[in-house]
């Protein structure tokens, strides 16, 4: 079948239009809820924004996280796991004091992922840094490597785990950004608790979403990463530091 020039141009335009629009159509689909059969996508990058000016002396985020994830203490602060902690700062020169929550920063270039010998420490497609407990051998090299001290090693037998959050002796763990909640389109427990009972200092969202609330706020207001000189491109950003 031979095409004359007019038909050829028309066909070319149609194909090009289709090629241009098709990814856009796909994108609109993904911005809505992810179904269980779909895998996590690189089109999203989950992150947190924490406004330290609004952060009070409460510990609601810590309590909520540990309750949600079944992280219980044993009265041994040196070896008990902590997924999130409140840090108190006081400037040595000026005396200015503030407080903020510190958890896994979900870096885009995580040192913990680089050093893990078995690949158990990994970054999911949507930016969440996790430990695959099935492969973790408990060598603790990632604990040495984390610039934020975010990781904990489980020093004792664990019982009474939450069904959504498996954890066990001899492996390493850290904040999962409540991945089991995110996959159900909910917010991390700390963010929800802060919004309900705390200073409303924490915001969760998609750093990759062009017109998303989080991205807009980051564009309009100043924010910073912790240890920015390491160039890790963290998913957790802070204001007021």
């Amino acid at each position: 079948m031979s095409l004359d020039r007019r038909h050829f141009i028309g066909l070319g335009a149609a194909v090009t239009a289709g090629a241009v629009l098709a990814p856009g159509l796909r994108l609109i689909e993904l911005v809505q809820a992810r179904s269980p059969e779909e895998s996590a996508s690189v089109l999203r990058r989950w992150g947190l924004l924490i406004d330290t000016a609004l952060c009070t002396d409460c510990e609601v985020c810590v309590t909520a996280c540990h309750e949600e994830n079944g992280v219980s203490g044993h009265g041994r602060p040196a070896t008990d796991a902590q997924w999130i902690r409140k840090v108190g700062l006081r400037d040595k020169r000026t005396g200015h004091a503030q407080t903020l929550p510190l958890m896994c920063q979900h870096c885009a270039h995580p040192p913990c992922v680089d050093v893990c010998p078995t690949g158990a420490s990994f970054k999911r497609a949507d930016g969440i840094v996790l430990v695959d407990k099935h492969t973790c051998i408990g060598c603790r090299y990632c604990v040495m490597a984390c610039p934020y001290g975010a990781r904990s090693f489980i020093h004792e037998t664990v019982t009474g785990q939450k069904p959504d959050v498996p954890r066990g002796k001899g492996t390493v763990e850290s904040c999962t950004l409540c991945v089991h909640r995110i996959d159900r389109d909910e917010q991390p427990a700390c963010v929800e608790a802060c919004a309900r009972d705390g200073g409303k200092a924490m915001m969760f969202g998609d750093l990759g979403e062009n017109d998303g609330e989080l991205r807009e706020r980051l564009r309009r207001q100043p924010s910073s990463q912790l240890r920015p000189e390491l160039a890790l491109d963290t998913g957790v950003r802070y204001q007021g530091l």
Partner: protein
Amino acid sequence: MMGLLAVLLTAAGVALAGDKQPARVALPVIKIEKGEKCVEPTAEMRRNHMNLISHQRDRTVHDGIRTVKHSLKNCVDCHASPKTNSVLGKDGFCESCHAYAAVRMDCFECHSSAPRKAASAPLAERRAP
């Protein structure tokens, strides 16, 4: 291979149980108390459940794919004994068979052996008085 051996031993044990002699090793207690049937045929489950779980876990952990059919949480929700609220213990669904077949299972070092209650409700609703 191990699964096949387990099946053979179980079959032999069940057959022998018809005799008056007591079994040397306690036979597995297989009580199905919930649901009409499993997500896969019984014979396939006996042989292959470990492969299904292993495959699913990589998809869930690394890709975030949380289909329910082969999810371990789903298995536990159904198979946990209503009395003990667990798949472990002397007559637990998983443990009694594994003890009989002498195959060590690692799963419940980390995974909860109890079924979910009011499954996956958001924190706020769960805290409601």
